[in-house]
């Protein structure tokens, strides 16, 4: 079928506002008489709160409210899965980002000063900063009586039998790090008293409906009294969920207490201290293999550092347990994934959501297997990779088109993989060595068996023929509004300039679940298609009456009503819209889309985890300076089956951004703690890739249209990000013959094979020596 708008690189609907400055980000919202809210955060990563004295802060001129947990009228904790995250800490603090008290004052400066006047007495508790330490029975408990709060497992076949059948075993341990989402816009909200009771919160919120539930719960309000309005977002990457929920609850509390609007904006430092990170994993992989390169058994154990609160850990680790074997045949599988509490920042949703960690281990293992049996990385993946009809580790039969071999082959050809791989592995003379590495994956689309998966989009045609679209699916910069607009425009036969997309408001669109799991296009887009089709039917019926032609002979195309028999333009779209209104017909289409059924048996650890999957392959070509450990990524091939590219440019943007972000994960990003205290609080010390670090990227879009998505579209937001790191790590191995088991592959890890750590050595060296490395913290004085 030939499309007019689907598949083109239409301009983003939000582009003009963003480049001209008319787009309003959360910090741009200001109203008369607004107060400024600030948070007093914990002084220790783990401590009992003995006493909070707010009297001095209250007396400060210009302070209008000082609140503690006792002032919360409703629920003092929130959480989508496990309800244990404190809006304000009550009896104890569990990490340095915990809020202890709130201030609202006439100016930001007064608020900051008031925060410094709040006196808190603590009794410090032992700190758990290591996930494996948290497991030990004797370790102090952070919540309740067990630090382990998640255990998912998957079993298939007989693991003992599998190892017995194997010719040899590969057993390796891998580690991944905390990383920061690094959205350019830090958290910000404005909470205003609503006209007839309740509260309106405008902010940089990713998941509006879960936030609304928490705000309503904290304030003891009905959901219809709490409006959460999404401002234009300056990026999220999964990072504006719970941290924004906490901020919205706090601002709303201050607003209800004072009866005045309250503005809260995090500095970058506050954001880094409080916000959640990507889960670091410790991964134990044990594979039983045959000499021919097949895999008879996979025994996998992963431990995720969940930090201080449960957040999305139960779901993040569930995706890990489903995908932990990779897209490879294996009859005997035993996978266990755990999450534990520590006193580090809590960890939650981040682009990839439990897949980047396991993909790093799986794809490293696959290269080790190839090496052991004398095959190349491409051949070993073709040999073991899933085909249509394959049965996954969870017992799910893949009935859609499984395009793993297609993406592998297309990317290998584009990168000239085999020639280069053979050439680079044998040329080891120069200190600067090139290498090429391959990684592939499969990924479940949308939420799967995590929970209810449905979304609504509203398409509203105006009397002049212009169209307003709105949805419960939100845009964070990824382009959801553009995709949904394109789909509505395609159905209605109009051009994109006729469409205005509204930012999401929880009181005006239906609860569509969270915008996560790369589900924006497939869910919101499918709903947009249905909504537009409803309106289209009324328009065509009207047009039939206007022209006397049968509805089957009429079409809407390029803003006109067309006679399909001869292509003649019979009327403008605007005229049809006006007439439809005059006839008293609705021009409002509400589309609701519920995903196909999935299932999960947690007890046995199997089921139809996701209703469809996507497939991708990445190839990285690097140059490693073997005398300094510096790795440069020279070229990159990114190949993904997206089902159908609704907007070609948006898809390419996801490809490029996903690679850049994955490169940071593989090579430089690391949010470090020392005894659960973050060691870096801004981008001077937390390094993300610059444009000078991002390689030439060759994108290959594969389109095997899937019945589950609008026009066949599936997902790309997260798939694009989950493979770059293992491709780079495999390329480093190809160059040097040394494998990196712990990311990121920093200068020190590449040169020495391990990380350097300052811990414990500070006191043992001369003062002069310490300062030789002190390019980070400047002591006082000039």
């Amino acid at each position: 079928m030939k499309h007019k708008i689907i598949g083109k690189g239409e301009r983003r609907v939000d582009a003009l506002g963003k480049v001209t400055g008319t787009a309003k980000y959360a910090e741009d919202f200001n109203v008369m008489h607004q107060l400024y809210g600030k948070v007093l955060r914990a002084k220790h990563p783990h401590a009992k709160i003995l006493k909070i004295d707010i009297s001095k802060a209250q007396k400060l001129e210009g302070v209008e409210a000082v609140l503690t947990a006792n002032d919360i009228p409703g629920d003092k904790v929130f959480g989508v899965v496990v309800k244990n995250q404190a809006i304000l800490a009550q009896d104890k603090v569990r990490y340095l980002g915990d809020g202890v008290a709130l201030v609202a004052a006439k100016t930001k400066e007064i608020a900051e000063q008031a925060v410094s006047l709040i006196e808190v007495e603590y009794e410090t508790l032992p700190i758990i900063s290591d996930s494996e330490e948290a497991f030990k029975p004797e370790s102090i408990k952070i919540h309740g009586d067990d630090n382990q709060f998640v255990h998912h497992h998957v079993t298939k076949g007989d693991i003992e039998k599998g190892f017995n059948e194997s010719d040899f075993i590969i057993e390796k341990k891998f580690k991944t790090q905390f990383i920061e989402h690094s959205a350019i816009e830090p958290e910000a909200v404005l909470a205003e008293p609503a006209e007839h009771g309740g509260v309106i919160v405008t902010g940089s919120v990713q998941n509006l409906f879960s936030t609304r539930r928490s705000v309503a719960g904290a304030l003891k309000l009905d959901l219809n009294k709490v409006q959460i309005i999404q401002s234009t977002l300056g990026g999220s990457f999964g990072g504006k969920d719970e941290v924004m929920t906490a901020m919205c609850c706090r601002a709303a509390l201050l607003c209800m207490k004072t009866g005045k609007p309250v503005k809260m904006v995090n500095t970058r430092e506050e954001s880094m201290i409080e916000s959640y990170k990507r889960h670091p994993y410790v991964l134990y992989y044990k594979w039983g293999c045959k000499k021919n390169g097949s895999i008879t058994a996979m025994e996998i154990k992963c431990i995720a550092d969940g930090g201080a609160y449960a957040s999305m850990s139960p779901f993040v680790t569930w995706r890990s347990v489903v995908q932990a074997t990779g897209p490879y045949y294996c009859e005997n599988v035993k996978t266990d994934v755990y999450a534990v509490y520590t006193n580090n920042n809590y960890t939650g949703a981040m682009r990839g959501f439990g897949s980047p960690q396991v993909n790093f281990a799986i794809e490293s293992m696959m290269d080790e297997l190839a090496e052991k049996v004398g095959k190349d990385p491409f051949e070993i993946r073709l040999q073991n990779g899933f085909e249509t009809g394959a049965v996954t580790a969870t017992g799910q039969k893949l009935n859609h088109r499984v395009s793993l071999k297609e993406v592998l082959t297309k990317s290998a050809e584009a990168a000239d993989f085999l020639n280069k791989w053979n050439q680079y592995r044998t040329s080891k003379q120069s200190p600067k060595r090139k290498g090429i590495g391959l990684a592939c994956s499969y990924r479940g689309v949308s939420l799967g068996a995590e929970g209810t998966d449905a979304a609504g989009t509203i398409v509203s045609v105006q009397t002049d023929g212009s169209v307003i679209v709105s949805s419960g699916i939100t845009d964070m910069g990824q382009g959801a509004q553009t995709q949904m607009s394109q789909i509505a425009a395609e159905v209605l036969g109009i051009t994109m300039d006729r469409i205005q997309f509204l930012n999401t408001n929880t009181s005006r669109v239906p609860d569509s679940g969270p915008t996560v799991a790369s589900r924006g296009t497939i869910m919101g887009g499918a709903a947009a298609k249905k909504g537009a089709e409803i309106v289209r039917a009324f328009l065509i019926k009207t047009a039939s009456e206007m022209t006397g032609l049968d509805v089957m002979s009429l079409d809407l195309k390029d803003n006109y009503l067309i006679d399909t028999n001869n292509g003649e333009r019979l009327a403008s779209f605007n005229e049809v819209a006006a007439e439809c209104f005059n006839k008293g017909r609705p021009m409002y289409g509400f589309g609701w889309h519920k995903s196909p059924q999935t299932s999960w048996d947690e007890h046995h650890g199997h089921g139809e985890a996701y209703f469809t999957f996507v497939y991708g392959a990445n190839i990285a070509e690097v140059e490693v300076d073997t005398e300094t450990g510096k790795v440069d990524v020279l070229n990159f091939v990114s190949c993904h089956d997206v089902g159908k590219a609704i907007n070609r440019n948006s898809v390419l943007g996801q490809f490029y951004g996903g690679v850049a972000m994955g490169l940071g994960y593989g090579l430089m990003e690391e949010f470090n703690f020392e005894d659960s205290i973050p060691k870096q609080l801004n981008f001077d010390e937390y390094l993300i890739p610059t444009s000078m670090d991002v390689p030439n990227i060759i994108p290959i879009i594969v389109e095997n249209e899937d019945a589950a998505g609008p026009y066949g579209a599936k997902s790309i937001g997260e798939p694009s990000n989950e493979l770059a790191a293992p491709a780079i790590i495999n390329a480093i191995y190809n160059a040097t013959g040394k494998r990196i088991y712990e990311i990121p592959a920093t200068l020190e890890r590449v040169l020495l094979g391990h990380k350097l750590t300052r811990k414990g050595e500070r006191g043992s060296v001369k003062k002069e020596e310490v300062l030789a490395d002190s390019c980070k913290i400047r002591p006082e004085g000039r």
């Binding site: 300076d625 610059t690 030789a772 400047r778």
Partner: protein, 298 residues
């Protein structure tokens, strides 16, 4: 950021007069690329007054009087990069200035600020010490010229008095037969703090024998200096990989003799030796494939 008084001054005379008033309670704002970041940090003492000298026109510009190059202290890194005089007579300084921060930072950051902030990773300092730079410090009552290499006490601490400001940096031109290089190793390819760096200058006679050598490592020693222990190994010899390797190892040894063995030594020990060898190879044109290190070779 806590409140402080802000004073903009428009001449050196005014600057030193305000400084005489506030002394160590004042901090000087030149480009602000270090100071403004520092002022955001919670645990740093907020100065009583910040004196903004960035409007002082007389402190900008590059001249070349009497066989020397003279940089006014507010000359930005971008101005240094684009200066024909510096390119011709001190190309290693062009190289060092070109890899500082990002274009925005190079447009704001000044050579004077880079020196006076005195971080061990300051990229313009190793080339300037290798070039034998002298600096002029002025106060309300005095003006004095000292060797740049004598300025530093320890990281972030200089011998400049609280009431003094740095006004000029002056060094002899390198003649056209003298070769120089600068290598910076960072954790990424832009906006990167030097993990290690090396500035090197080599002079050879007609027969190729080395007659003068200067090696200054960066982010390696608590106080910058020429590593004469390594330089003397080179004098009177012809360039060779073995010779340059030996010089690199010597620099590494000297570094450890100053710092002791500490947490980062395992990495820095082999790598500083490598970078010194490469810097020397670049001087004599034996090494050309270092574009990714953003080196500049003359």
């Amino acid at each position: 950021m806590k409140p402080f008084e802000y004073r903009a001054v428009h001449s050196v005379e005014e600057a030193v007069s305000v400084l005489a008033e506030y002394g160590s309670d004042a901090r000087i704002l030149a480009g602000g690329t270090d100071l403004l970041i520092e002022l955001r940090k919670q645990n740093v003492k907020t100065p009583k007054v910040v004196i903004d000298i960035s409007f002082i026109k007389e402190l900008r510009g590059i001249e070349s009087p009497n066989g020397t190059v003279m940089l006014q202290s507010l000359t930005t890194h971008s101005e240094i990069v684009n200066s024909k005089v510096v390119q011709q007579y001190a190309s290693l300084l062009t190289g060092a200035a070109s890899v500082i921060g990002s274009p925005q930072i190079r447009n704001k950051g000044t050579v004077g600020g880079n020196i006076m902030n005195a971080a061990t990773c300051a990229d313009t300092v190793p080339p300037l010490i290798a070039l034998g730079a002298k600096i002029t410090l002025k106060s309300k009552t005095n003006s004095r010229q000292i060797d740049l290499s004598d300025l530093f006490i320890k990281p972030y601490q200089t011998k400049a008095k609280p009431e003094e400001i740095l006004t000029e940096i002056q060094f002899p031109k390198l003649s056209s037969n003298v070769k120089s290089s600068f290598i910076k190793l960072g954790r990424r390819n832009a906006l990167s703090i030097s993990r290690l760096s090396v500035a090197a200058i080599l002079t050879q006679d007609k027969n190729g024998k080395i007659t003068d050598a200067r090696i200054v490592p960066g982010a390696a020693l608590p106080v910058w200096r020429r590593v004469t222990e390594a330089e003397i190994l080179l004098i009177g010899k012809k360039p060779s990989k073995e010779l340059f390797t030996a010089a690199g190892q010597k620099v590494s040894e000297v570094m450890i003799s100053h710092t002791g063995r500490r947490w980062s030594t395992e990495y820095k020990e082999p790598v500083i030796a490598t970078l010194v060898r490469r810097a020397l190879e670049m001087c004599v044109g034996d090494l050309k494939d270092l574009k990714d290190l953003k080196d500049l070779k003359d």
